[in-house]
């Protein structure tokens, strides 16, 4: 019996309405673990031989919601969302925190595999060893608060039916897509609670394309049993002790970044990355802390760190906005990058974006891209229907709503920054791709490379997760640990060197840091690389062109203490070459036959032949 796992996965075919249990061999679980790793295995086995033809927003794509053996047991419970990404056309492991993962395991499932497409909107309701497809017509089109309210109430009523009497039943956990996902906006997130988002990858749109509004789960069993419970208990105490020492992260979360990353590091996006420096002290961490935070420590299941904080606007025109933190990424992307330096406006927009199920990073990036085109006179008032000036929060709200509903220009911008850039270039007869700050279709995180104090030059360019700031690469060894967090499915903010001991005590299987970084993690990264190179059906990537930073990252910084500095192309190219060698790719960036064979990926090697011949 496998330890740490519930032992089965739920597979739902929305086209036929069929629901069944599936299992994976111990060998597969041992090698691919769960989450991102297992996603690559499932997707490759099922779609690998005709990857280029699969439309991420078509019924053939597979929507995956996966836990890992450490989920719920190790601090920082998360869930990993995956499938063929409508952003990169590859595979992104996109994780979000909350109770969904532990509830799912307590219900007896390690994950949910969703195929096909429903005729009408549906949601899944999962309880102990049982799942049901239910109508979601009454929540379709609803924003986050109403979706949560209705599904929580309905879930409680259903649970109550099974347990009559005065007893109070606890609410189920819910993941859902907002209106953005329903309308297949490629920058739509999969959401949990009000503000927890899996944005990278655009899997909210995959949910929407399947007419799957939500998955609701309540488990009543204990978490799965582990190989060495006493050791796990000791390790849990020790990891907690380590995490409790992260006092700065605990006290302020990443919410100090909105000022610090710009003012000190010059690596914060400002006005669509035209600048990376600002010294707007009114956008400082203490301001958020003093004025807005009603909960200074906000967590999800099994997390002692509590890097989230709840911000509420209590007065003024934006009164009533509720969101978390906002964390650094939201501060940056819904603040300075839109020319907004007023915390009120940033919090308001952050809450709005969440309620629409729009990804704050990816969608926020597209909003700024549109504003730069307006600044340059490429997009006009006639195109938009209104003026789109930096800092104008009402205009950005209007544009966000147009994108989410795919109205007017919003229909083009709903394709994400890169695809929109291609269309607008064609429409306007000018190349606007140079203003698109993305890597392989994934809008980049809010950490720049130009000042040299933040992300390294190949961090995004060579990452299988593309623009994802949580999984930047550098040496093809140490960066593999991020793949482990996403595969064991725990929060990387709760990382500890004890995680390998933890894994062994939970599963009873041997695994060392070196095994992972050299073999298992690398194998997963290679499958991710292979599908990126296959790409399609609408856009394809060539490493010599697309294993690169956005053009903007090579423009000199125009302001601040690092004025004039930029990403050095020679350094970048040397590093990229070293990275290819270190990970086992040829000079064109294609995984070498010998390396793939060594990793046991003969089938991947065979299919990559067509890429090699191009």
């Amino acid at each position: 019996m496998v330890r740490g796992y519930a032992g089965k996965f739920l597979e739902v075919d929305l086209s036929s309405g069929g629901v069944k249990d599936v299992t994976f061999s111990d060998d597969i679980l041992r090698n691919f673990v769960g989450g991102r790793g297992l996603a690559t295995k499932i997707l490759w086995d099922r779609l690998g031989n005709r990857w280029e033809e699969i439309d991420p927003l078509g019924p053939e794509n597979i929507f995956l919601v996966l836990t890992g053996p450490l989920t719920g047991i190790y601090p920082g419970s998360r869930i990993c969302i995956s499938g063929k990404s409508p952003q990169s056309n590859g595979i992104i492991g996109s994780t979000l925190s909350g109770e969904f993962g532990n509830e799912l395991k307590c219900a007896g499932y390690d994950g949910v595999i969703v195929t096909g497409r429903a005729e009408k909107p549906v949601y899944l309701f999962i309880t102990d060893d049982n799942a049901e497809i239910r109508s979601a017509e009454h929540v379709w089109g609803k924003e986050a608060p109403e979706t949560i309210r209705i599904l929580t109430k309905e879930g409680l009523e259903l649970l109550k039916r099974a347990r009559p009497g005065a007893e109070k039943v606890k609410e189920p956990a819910i993941i859902y897509c907002g209106p953005a996902g329903e309308n297949r906006v490629r920058t739509a997130a999969v959401m949990q609670k009000i503000s927890h988002a899996a944005g990278y990858g655009g899997y909210g749109a995959v949910m929407g394309s399947k007419k799957l509004k939500a998955i609701v789960v309540k488990g009543r069993k204990p978490l799965p049993s582990v190989a060495s419970p006493e050791t796990v208990k000791i390790l849990l105490r020790e990891v907690e002790r380590q995490l409790l020492e992260r006092d700065r992260l605990r006290r302020w979360g990443t919410g100090y970044g909105g000022y610090e990353v710009g003012a000190r590091q010059s690596s914060e996006p400002v006005r669509n990355w035209q600048e990376e420096w600002h010294d707007e002290k009114r956008f400082g961490g203490p301001k958020f802390d003093f004025r807005y935070w009603v909960k200074r420590y906000w967590s999800d299941f099994n997390c002692p760190v509590a890097c989230m904080k709840i911000a509420v606007i209590k007065t003024g025109p934006y009164k009533g906005a509720i969101t978390d933190n906002p964390d650094y990424e939201m501060q940056a992307y819904l603040g300075p990058n839109l020319g907004i330096f007023d915390p009120d406006k940033c919090i308001y927009l952050s809450a709005l974006i969440d309620y629409l199920g729009f990804s704050g990073i990816n969608g926020g990036n597209t909003l700024a891209f549109a504003a730069e085109l307006y600044q340059r006179g490429i997009l006009t008032k006639e195109d938009l229907g209104f003026e789109l000036n930096w800092g104008d929060v009402e205009a950005f709200e209007r544009l966000a709503r147009m994108i989410v509903k795919r109205e007017g220009i919003g229909d083009i911008l709903a394709e994400g920054t890169y695809r929109a850039a291609l269309k607008i270039s064609e429409m306007k007869g000018v190349d606007v791709t140079k203003y698109a700050v993305h890597v392989k279709g994934v809008e980049v995180g809010a950490h720049g490379t130009r000042s040299g104090l933040d992300f390294n030059p190949i961090g995004y360019a060579c990452s299988p997760q593309c623009g994802d700031h949580t999984s930047g690469v550098y040496d093809a060894y140490n960066d593999m640990r991020m793949v482990f967090f996403d595969s064991a499915v725990v929060c990387s903010m709760c990382g500890s060197p004890l995680i390998w001991d933890f894994y062994r005590a939970v599963t009873g299987w041997d695994l060392t840091d070196a095994d992972w970084c050299r073999v298992l993690g690398r194998r997963i990264a290679h499958i991710q690389r292979a599908v990126l190179l296959l790409g399609g059906p609408d856009v394809f990537w060539k490493p010599e062109i697309h294993d690169d930073n956005p053009p903007r990252f090579y423009e000199p910084l125009p302001s601040g203490p690092y004025k004039g500095k930029t990403t050095d192309r020679k350094t970048f190219e040397d590093m990229r070459k070293q990275y290819y060698e270190a990970i086992g790719w040829d000079e064109r960036g294609i995984p070498k036959s010998s390396v793939l064979k060594e990793l046991g990926l003969e089938d991947v090697d065979k299919i990559l032949d067509k890429v090699r011949k191009q």
């Binding site: 719920g72 047991i73 109770e99 532990n102 307590c106 608060p145 949560i148 309210r149 929580t152 347990r163 009497g165 005065a166 007893e167 109070k168 606890k170 609410e171 609670k193 009000i194 503000s195 488990g219 009543r220 069993k221 204990p222 978490l223 049993s225 419970p229 208990k233 907690e240 409790l244 009603v294 909960k295 420590y297 906000w298 967590s299 999800d300 299941f301 099994n302 997390c303 002692p304 509590a306 709840i310 509420v312 209590k314 009164k319 009533g320 509720i322």
Partner: protein, 183 residues
């Protein structure tokens, strides 16, 4: 304030819902102690989150008159003299649910495995939930000495409310008018 005679006290876990982070490590600590493994649904303290961000740790309030104890038809419930906790005799309990109905907060629940009543027993005087909450400096839970029957003892019963009632107040406290829309 009646101050005559020796002040008889019990242990009581004071709760500050505004400070609950929702980490649910109290549920983990409780189930590890009582069940030997992580089992949120069997934890004597259960964190309800009926509204996102409004987390309510729900557990016994030790009413001065212990309505659950007097209502139990099979006398499976008793009060621990030293701590004041309600102790469930699992041999006697039939899982009839009368204690849940009689509790002003419907706090007890039936164990997911054997269907018998589950009530906080204060871990015989060293509540594990408080320990983990305090370690993390969250201070949503801490132990206070309460008069068994004297000043403040009636107040304890007021804490025994259904989670949805507590949620309404806390939502307004944290979210203001917006909190009304949520509940």
């Amino acid at each position: 304030m009646a101050m005559s005679g020796r002040r008889e006290t019990i242990l009581w876990i004071a709760r500050d819902y505004l400070k609950c982070t929702g980490c649910r490590r109290c549920e983990i600590a409780c189930s590890l102690f009582h069940e030997g493994w992580i089992w949120p649904e069997a934890s004597r303290i259960r964190v309800f989150m009926l509204v996102p961000g409004i987390e309510i740790p729900h557990f016994c309030s030790q009413c001065h008159d212990y309505p659950c104890v007097s209502a139990c038809p099979v006398k499976a419930l008793s009060v621990d003299e030293r701590t004041g906790a309600v102790i469930v005799d699992r041999e006697k309990c039939t899982g009839c649910g009368v204690c849940i109905r009689e509790c002003p907060g419907n706090i007890p629940f039936l164990h997911p495995s054997d269907g018998k009543a589950v009530i906080c027993d204060l871990c015989s005087g060293e509540p594990q939930c408080v320990k983990v909450c305090q370690e993390a400096k969250f201070n949503a839970l801490w132990v206070v000495r309460e008069d068994k029957t004297g000043w403040g003892s009636y107040n304890r019963k007021l804490f025994a409310q259904p989670p949805e009632e507590i949620t309404k107040d806390i939502a307004i406290n944290l979210y203001g008018e917006k909190g009304e829309e949520w509940v």
